[in-house]
Symmetry: C2
Subunit: 121 residues, 2 copies
DNA sequence: TTATCATTTGAATATCTGTTCATATGTATT
DNA sequence: AATACATATGAACAGATATTCAAATGATAA
């Protein structure tokens, strides 16, 4: 997915501002961290998952109720909950046959609120 | 991309908590807004774009210098800058042959900082 | 056990997306 | 005008991904 090249880019474009390149290269966060950030945003980058998370802002919910609210199949929701679960964004508890999902973390809502603000500006 | 179904889901799962379904359905933000949020996060959901934005946190930069910092081709960077431009996340100014890109908005860094915090917790 | 129901899972498919390569555009210099 | 260089763009390809369908778990009740 990430292709880290050993060879130098032979593209025609040369460095224009070597000092800037050097300074920015040094200050740029570790590539691992940036990769994780991208992975987190990738999970947020699907409208079904966004809608699931926003629904969970209001209340914990079981799979079939989420499916009802989003008017989608229970299977599709379950697949997406799996993604959210793997990203540690939701947690769940079992009550008989029913599985209730809820937010794993309060940071999520903060990030979303920032995004809402950004869009509405 | 979004398939809004007219028909009811005939899946076996029935509503478990009608009150919750009703309450959450009413409180859920407009689907258009949620779609826009997902689109924004989708743009953030690629490590190349994340790295470009983080580079621009430090300083405005021209295309070839960004390519140098990320060790990628100028073409790949240019394609991604186009995506960031369309999402109104970066702006640019021309200086002779060189085009300098910079952040369009301070919200971006705030959102990223939240994401960093979330990951490091 | 058997039947029923909520949820999960795997495979298949259609769509989307990021990079590369080749080429075009735009600007300055000679 | 011709050349050089920074950037942009289009087509093509490979890899990723969301939903559907069918089938498997897991849990309760009869």
């Amino acid at each position: 997915m990430e292709n880290i090249k050993e060879t130098l880019q032979e593209a025609s474009a040369e460095t224009v501002n070597p000092e800037v390149v050097k300074a920015v290269s040094e200050k740029l966060p570790d590539i691992e961290l940036l990769y994780d950030v991208a992975e987190l945003f990738k999970v947020f980058g699907d409208s079904t998952r966004v809608r699931i998370l926003c629904a969970l802002f209001e209340s914990e919910m079981c799979v079939c109720d989420i499916a009802q609210v989003l008017d989608m199949t229970q299977s599709a929701i379950s697949h997406q909950l799996r993604v959210l679960k793997q990203a540690r964004l939701v947690k769940y508890r079992r009550d008989g046959k029913t599985v209730y999902y809820s937010l794993a973390d309060d940071h999520i809502q903060t990030i979303f609120n920032q995004a809402f603000e950004h869009i509405m500006e």
